[in-house]
Symmetry: C2
């Protein structure tokens, strides 16, 4: 009974700390996100002036990291290692560096995400606060609190953020003890960034799907394809990094040449359609504007090359864009409700590329409304199983189901 | 690449086997469930004739088990041990015995569930088929397939059934590789039992909750209480078993005396209101009929004593009844939407007593419609965290989050 009391007292302390962390991270998310939106608008208006300088901008990004904090280049890998207690310190400069370099990436038209900033920044801030509290063995807990808050503040999907943090470190296991503090941090960060003017992306999908054997088979095939797309993205990203490194052993040379090639291609193929986060594609998908059948492939390719070259930002919003443009294509092909299929792709491709199952289901519910929860569960489960166990997070671990078989039952 | 191909080939074989298993288990579920409904109606009509014989009926149950297959008395514990590969054989007589003795329990008015039958029967049938297939190391997989199919066939909540099977053996870890075969088995079992005339319990809750700081605090308090109720149920059941065993070392004497006392109390307190599954209380809760403030406590007490004495059937439907009657009480007390609070209690008390998080959330979505998915997630997460880590499944294991920290990252 005593132990139990102590347990709940500890949870209470962590939860109060998590609310404070959520406030700070929500505010930083709002700052980062609003500047990023301004930058995106500015780029759209001055595309021909900015995009040609993507190569030199890459040099600047790399120079800043190498000069100021080479360790910070570890990025998400560094965060994962901290979670596994193989790294103790997250450099102080990681947060300003990742924010600044992501802004630069987007200003000059790289095709990249923004969740990398949110999650790394959240983890770094929360980790620092957790260390100051001197509560024993809490490194992993505070890391998860920070990741959840960072994700929630940026996307304003607090529940998906919690499950993303709980399941992303070790595929196939959930760190359930962190549920309450993570919920507190997530909701606080989401409210804070919302109050500070960051808006949530949300579309209500009113498509209805009739459950016939025919649609079930089509839905399963669609889900398998989403899984393959997500898995391939993770695989290609890894392969592209290796390939570029073998072609250009010099890192500066690598980012400069790749950046120049990228800027030419991005400019001449549909004039910047595939730059940035991909929110233009997502809007087009749900507002019945033109989606080309090859949109998902080009966004896929440009994002892989941008990130493999060394630009910053993350993968998630482009994955959303890839998923929903692929969904439009498959929905039309199979005669499934198009907006619903796009929404399912949005969630499922994200899940299969990050090797997570619950986060994408809940993202689906939080972004597209709960009325299709069952379809998100079915499609994301199948996609998850069909991703060939790939993940964009190279440092993610696999939970070995067999392991507990050797433990005694007491 | 070869390995990957083999992996998907294996999944395909398991999935085809799972569909066959789902068909068989769905049919058995329908048989069991429909007979149980007839028995329940028959008991309601002849309550004064049947209830007085609860004590002798207990003797018969015990006699059957002891005479025919004492090992089958292990029940859910036996299923869990098989999952952990500490038991290799599930007795052939387990299935007919658990079905028959659950019918007897309900015919004479014991307060018990029915999912024990479904899950044990499903696991036993699937385990036997899995062994015949001679695929290496698949004992656990086939056990989960069977548990999912059994649960899905009986309650016709196929997605909740999958997650229940995935998360119940080891609290805090999910056996994700089993997702696809379990989905196939679950949906097949659900469709089959539905075709054979078993109906799904479903209520659409149209209550709307306005998200104000006031309601958030009330919702959190309600969730904490649900968690305490579920945790206490698990604790009391264990304690009652020990207490009865120390009072009556002779098992026959134990079930006879306890049964006689139960039948007297069940008869005189509201004439049989607390007998059986508790579906009468659930209907009353959602059809605006009278719910007494003490309903949840009495159903709680009667169920604990019925099961501790040695009657069969399981805990889940009474837990649903306890949860939603407690929800009615708390909803009225706090001025929360009453039907919604009852629905949240239905899910959250089940989750906190079984130490599962995702299964109750998805039960909430499948039974009460997806529109309140977010509330089910919040309330079930908090209830899960506040159950004092108790569980009605004594053989359930805890996943130790620390364990993977010692593993190498490769």
């Amino acid at each position: 009974m005593k132990k139990s009391f102590l347990y709940y007292k500890t949870i209470l302390i962590h939860t109060l700390a998590a609310i404070l962390i959520g406030l700070i991270i929500g505010a930083v998310d709002a700052l980062f996100g609003r500047v990023l939106l301004t930058i995106t608008d500015f780029r759209q208006e001055h595309l021909y002036l900015l995009l040609p300088f993507l190569g030199p901008a890459g040099l600047l990004i790399l120079f800043l990291y190498r000069k100021l904090s080479p360790k910070s280049l570890g990025g998400m890998g560094l965060i994962f290692d901290t979670g596994f207690q193989e790294n103790k310190h997250i450099p102080k400069l990681l947060v300003p560096l990742i924010m600044l370099t992501t802004w630069i990436t987007h200003l000059f038209g790289g095709s990249a995400g923004r969740e990398g900033v949110a999650v790394q920044m959240g983890a770094a801030i929360s980790h620092t606060i957790g260390r100051k509290l001197h509560v024993q063995n809490n490194a992993r807990l505070y890391l998860l609190i920070g990741m959840a808050a960072g994700f929630a503040g940026l996307f304003q999907t607090p529940l998906a953020a919690v499950f993303f943090a709980l399941e992303v470190l070790v595929a196939g296991s959930l760190f359930y003890e962190a549920v309450i503090p993570c919920l507190a941090a997530s909701f606080t960060a989401g409210f804070t960034s919302h109050l500070l003017g960051l808006e949530k992306f949300s579309v209500i999908v009113s498509d209805k799907l009739v459950f016939t054997p025919d649609t079930i088979v089509k839905l399963i095939i669609t889900a398998v394809i989403f899984g393959i797309i997500g898995g391939s993205f993770a695989w290609c990203l890894q392969a592209a990094k290796k390939r570029l490194a073998s072609w250009f052993p010099n890192v500066y040379f690598r980012i400069l040449i790749t950046g120049i090639c990228l800027s030419l291609l991005l400019l001449f193929i549909h004039q910047g359609r595939y730059t940035g986060l991909g929110t233009n594609l997502i809007s087009a998908a749900f507002e019945n504007q033109t989606i080309y059948p090859y949109d998902f492939l080009l966004k896929f390719g440009f994002t892989v090359i941008t990130l493999a070259a060394g630009y910053q930002g993350g993968e998630v919003p482009p994955l959303f864009a890839i998923g929903c443009t692929a969904g439009i294509l498959l929905g039309n092909l199979f005669g499934l409700p198009v907006a619903l299929t796009a929404a399912l792709g949005y969630a499922a491709v994200f899940g299969s590329a990050t090797n997570t199952l619950l986060a994408p289901v809940i993202i689906g519910i939080e972004v597209f409304g709960p009325q299709n929860a069952v379809y998100f569960l079915i499609v994301c489960s199948i996609a998850y199983a069909c991703n060939g166990n790939m993940t964009i997070y190279g440092r993610q671990r696999q939970y070995q189901g067999q392991e507990w078989q050797s433990r005694s039952s007491k």
